[in-house]
Amino acid sequence: MYAPGEKLWHFHGGIRLDGQRELSTGRPLGAVPLSAEFVVPVQQHIGQAGDVLVREGQHVHRGQQLTQVREYIGAPVHAPTSGKVIAIENRPVPHPSGLEGLCVVIEADGRDDWGDARLEPLEDYRALSPGRIRRRVRKCGIVGLGGAAFPTAAKINPLHEQRIHTLVLNGAECEPYITCDDTLLRHHAAEVVEGARILMHTLGGPERCLIAVEEDMPEAYEALREVLGGTSSGSFRLVSIPSIYPTGSEKQLIQVLTGREVPADGLPADIGVVCQNVATARAVYRAVVHGEPLIERIVTVTGRGVSEPGNHLVRIGTPVHEVIAHAGGYVEPVQWLLMGGPMMGVALHDDAVPVVKATNCLLAARRGELRAAGPVLPCIRCGECVRVCPARLLPHELYRLARAAEFDRAQEYDLFDCIECGCCAYVCPSHLPLVHYYRYAKSEIRDLERERQAADRARRRHEFRLERLEREKRERAERLAKKKAAVSHKADPERKKAAVQAAVQRAQARKAARGDTAPTED
């Protein structure tokens, strides 16, 4: 067994990219001033959206809970500032479709007043049960801030049989241009480490916590080293890993640090590992120790399409165009406005959309800044994509199968193991939009599955309906038969006499029961 943090493994493939960090790390951490209007989408995470708790016209405090989620995988959202709810309606949200989502729109009152929205500070968290801490994490709406936005409370709740021996703190910011985690570590390394301690306690005390940063983040490494008092302290180990994209992807990071692979049909907890982004750890700290729900985050505003690229503290719900304006505005012509980085980011269709919990970076790429792929050519099966795929897939085969709509075979080739990192498309000499093909295939498969289930339901309903009609017909026939029998019975004089007699006897019995006080009715 190797001493933790000392040995590193490799993941398959990956590519070296120019990090473009200097573009946004030159300026000190800024803060975007409060907007006049905040648009808070109710769904900013994986899982179920919540039910809206507030009404139009209601006043809310800074940090006030706006939604409530009943399902296990879900997270509430909170008001980023104090003000009045002026609308609960569909507004454009950051999503590749450009479609709208339900949002709570708040008109700021300028006071930025917490009111009673902050929860009780739990400084002595070690005395609390893990369940209590998880409830706090959930109530504060903490989700993974590395980009996936998975509800943290569910992630730090391993099953009984999953014994967690390693907590991985993911500071390996591998995508070019993004430096928000780097900035966070430079400024708040102590809070990140404290958050990690809270997570360690919640997970039942894993043997070690590995904090991973990339080789090209020396300042962040130094800041952590200073807080820890060395590269290893107690169960904490600070590890610097090679800057190969996508080493910051959870599955690949775990492989680099532990040499083990997360099972395809499972989770990191199945191999005893839980991985959290450094910003998430800090958010957990603020939630537990200070009672603050998740209402702001550091966003990298970068690209040569903005005048003053840098990192800024931004309230959730701030419209993107205001963030850009605070960074000096656009430098035209802007080709792409990306939420995220150039490899996995989402192209925003409109800068009116709000900043959400998953917004780690806003990249305004000037025309010509990001080398574009040339015209699409046929696949020449060169195998470059196979060489770089971190999931060890056969991207050219998946491409062929997706194009031929052979969705079953694409799944046999492990289509859903694709993490959509973009390495394959980056290296393809035929300039194929490979990731687009995989996304297309995946969404077609999900759609077909939905249709199949709907068709199954419809068939069951139809069969039930046929049964119901059959049953009703049968019952009607039976009733009719009974009636006929009764009528024919009635026609028989003997039975008629007996029936009359029985009726008379019943009447007399009733009379006797009543004690003969009421007059009989003949």
Binding site: H12, K251, E261, V262, A264, D265, G266, H321, Y330, Q335, W336, L337, L338, P342, M343, M344, G345, V346, A347, H349, D350, D351, L370, R371, A372, A373, G374, P375, L377, P378, I380, R381, C382, G383, E384, V386, P390, A391, R392, L393, L394, H396, Q411, E412, Y413, D414, D417, E420, G422, A425, Y426, V427, C428, P429, S430, H431, P433, V435, H436, R439
Partner: protein, 349 residues
Amino acid sequence: MRFPTASSPFVHGGGAVDRVMLQVLLALVPGTLAMFWYFGWGVLYNILICTGVAVAAEAAILRLRRRPVRATLADLSVVVTAWLLGLALPPLTPWWLPAAGSLFAVVVAKHLFGGLGYNPFNPAMAGYVLLIISFPTEMTHWIAPSVLAEVRLGPLESLRHVFTGVLPEGLAWDALASATPLDTMRTQLLMNRTIEEIRTSPLWGDFGGRGWEWIGNWYLLGGLWLVWRRVADWRIPAGFLGALVAISTVFYLADPDTHPFPAFHVFSGGALLGAFFIATDPVTAASTPRGRWIYGAGIGLLTFVIRAWGGYPDGVAFAVLLMNMAAPTIDYFTRPRTYGHRSPGDLEP
């Protein structure tokens, strides 16, 4: 403010098919120059005719298929096919031989299957095999390399011979002609001579035929550069040459009288050109890492088998085509294990 949308990634590494093809052509230059040095102008005319006919044929069929002509020609894949075919043909063959081979390679072997990326068979090898089966005499009429030749034709004389079949005054074909080392080896062995006896002839150099082996060196140089640039996957030449050396060593050790030494196999015929430039054609080769080893090794083994016991002096072209047929199956059985899975194909839906 509105912005365009698309799927990620939004940045590209800069690789391009035409750059890949250009690098292949560049890597062929040393070998081509060596061929020219040893065999004269016929080599260049072969390449020129092949290229000319190939480009024209591709343009014509693209127009028929209603595809963009300029853009498709610009990927340079047809030039590579033509160049390789031109190098494989005997110098000073009549012009219609490279023309026919080229036409077949481009129209039938490439475009009738769907064009670049869709052809299951290596077009250059398909053209070569068509020619060698249809015109065995012309295809085995090689000339002697310059180190051994008594006579060399100049550029205009060569041109005249290629297009009219007429040789300069007083010169007979016998004066120019010479069998290839593989051909010589084969016929001599069939005459029941031993390797020892065969090697006494001045035709032989250290590894293979005199002159011939040097061409192999220049191909090797270009090929190694191509592998270093990652244009050719190293597993294919490694498998090819490894298997060829392995099996020829086994037989050489077992019976040195009737089996030439391994280096002879490597430096003769199309082995080095095939290993680095022909077998590495990605469209027709296996595409998985393990699969490429098996594919290369298969070509090496089949080349030896055809050379030792087959009806043709060199087996590279046939070996390549046979392994082209096997490539999809090889791919199917050599799928890498996906991250997180226990074996390929587990957890099927």
